[in-house]
Symmetry: C2
Subunit: 336 residues, 2 copies
């Protein structure tokens, strides 16, 4: 039976195991410094589809089905698929789910979806309602650009603090047994809004949520930066990462030596991605690729991952609204 810990956290006594993880990335991400950790690097970011939206859905489907194969189970063994994405009405996830014979729970948490789906998945496992379940998400540079910003054909100049949406999809399967990295704690975030209105500075808009959830996780669990080998936020990018690190120090938590941001890691400095990567796929592929594989190999024993979401829409921004953010934290442990 599950336990609440502090104000926003839970402890998973059943230790849901991440029995399989799979990551698919686009060509640009495949040229970045983490390329060796991804399971599949696409040669063509359309993935043989007729539109970028269909391409995004197809790479999510690919990540899900390959993750199932890797776990050596059948699609029908999976009791729930928890997935979401950035597209209006999460169409990538809906259309991927249409081709799968799995009960589907659609989520929207913007770029926080990977840890949102893992958090809910861990709770469902703890309740005993699933033997296996799948948590997944995706994003695509070109479908995001034209939905949130400008048609690609305009060739708009990019702001120095702007992010580059990751083309990629990640999937993880949770199971009950076996010797795998497992989820020990979940801290569910609140929506935080510090009044940022600049849609070209997502890092600043999401940083308050990341800071709040990390701080709350430490307070609830009694843990601190020393208890983790790695703390990885989702897609704050270099500017948001800097804010997070500095402000947490003011709160008495020096995470600097343990801290990476997936958006800051995924591209090399010569790839001209300004603040770094973003999108639901950003933390998904870094978590499913780099982090999961480094846990399996024993290099990382205790990790805190936080996908981070900017909860704006084009309509809310056009109507003068500020940009709220959210971050959900999942602690994963293995060995040690």
């Amino acid at each position: 039976m599950g336990k609440r810990i502090g104000k926003q956290s839970i402890k998973l006594d059943s230790k849901p195991k991440i029995i399989s993880a799979y990551s698919v990335v686009g060509p640009k991400e495949g040229e970045g410094p983490l390329s060796e950790y991804f399971d599949l690097i696409l040669k063509d970011d359309l993935n043989g589809q007729k539109s970028y939206e269909k391409a995004e859905s197809s790479i999510l489907y690919k990540a899900i089905t390959e993750c199932i194969k890797k776990a050596k189970i059948q699609e029908t063994d999976i009791n729930y698929l928890l997935a979401g994405d950035l597209l209006n009405q999460i169409s990538s996830s809906n259309f991927a789910a249409r081709d799968l014979d799995i009960p589907f729970i659609g989520l929207y948490g913007a770029c926080s979806t990977m840890t949102e789906s893992l958090s809910l998945g861990a709770m469902i496992m703890e309740a005993g309602f699933a033997n296996y379940l799948l948590a997944a998400t995706s994003s695509h540079f070109s479908s995001a650009e034209r939905q949130f910003r400008y048609p690609l054909e305009y060739g708009s100049q990019r702001h120095p603090t702007a992010h580059w949406t990751v083309t990629g999809a990640g999937a993880m399967i949770l199971g009950k047994t076996g010797n795998y990295p497992y989820i020990s704690y979940v801290t569910t975030g609140k929506v935080k809004d510090y009044g940022i209105t600049d849609v070209n500075n997502m890092g600043a808009s999401m940083a308050p949520a990341a800071i709040d959830t990390i701080k709350q996780h430490f307070q609830d669990t009694g843990r601190g930066p020393d208890d983790y080998d790695l703390i990885a936020t989702g897609d704050l990018g270099k500017y948001g990462k800097d804010i997070t690190s500095k402000l947490l120090k003011e709160y008495g938590y020096d995470i600097e030596e343990k801290y990476i941001d997936c958006g800051d890691e995924i591209y090399g400095s010569s790839q001209e991605t300004n603040a770094g990567g973003s999108g639901c796929g950003c933390s998904a592929v870094v978590d499913c690729g780099y982090i999961y594989k480094n846990m399996l190999s024993g290099k990382l024993k205790r990790v805190l991952i936080l996908s981070t979401g900017a909860l704006l829409s084009t309509t809310s921004s056009l109507q003068g609204e500020t940009i709220p953010g959210i971050a959900h934290a999942v602690a994963i442990e293995y060995g040690g």
Copy 2:
């Protein structure tokens, strides 16, 4: 500890109680046949806001905060808010959550959101991770019209099988104890797509999902139409309801005498809403108003509610995609 029942269902041994429910509707819904069951009928569908999107978010916030008051608990007693809506990036829910001091889990299930949020809420309660949690959703005629169809100012002619999006929001609080209607079973739906492309016939696009989930619920639980006083689908409208009733008969389940559709009930025949109501708010306000109050008064003892979602986006339809549907079933019982 929770039990899986059959292929897609679960039994809630902890019987999560619906300790409070609240419904807000717009003026048009307040003139309909169910008006006496709604907690608040707005005089102005802008609710004092500057845009229809802000209005929708404000009525969701109203439903949530009034539901908390009705339960005689504090906002900070609520461990999770599970909410979603139809707007791009679920902006109504995100902005309502911003003003609440509650950990937030964003969902997208189109008009299936009320039973999606209740389903997940019930699982989290069963896991022991919440003392109280809140499931909520909203829709607004005018924000939906301009996002999914045409600017209102065009005065477009409406198709005979078109729906009228309900302006309304519903919220339910789940708790552990007390003498209240409780959730006994949940059946989580799969995405079903029978090739409908007509965006003016949502009932037909969602009916296969409703049929599949009802049939699966009966198979999994061993129950049948006679075990329920009422079976209520979300927003299939009169045409989708007809398809559902007829096809279930072919599968050997005659639900006709127990069966209502919330979209078919919410407006009177003189209100010119064609197929009937739709939108996340449709099943939400009928479930939180009409059904919950009739359970409390003892008129209904065992009810199966299924909110139903059409998982299209304007982009997917413009790209020639068909319209997938989904339906999640929640069995609620009280007394008797």
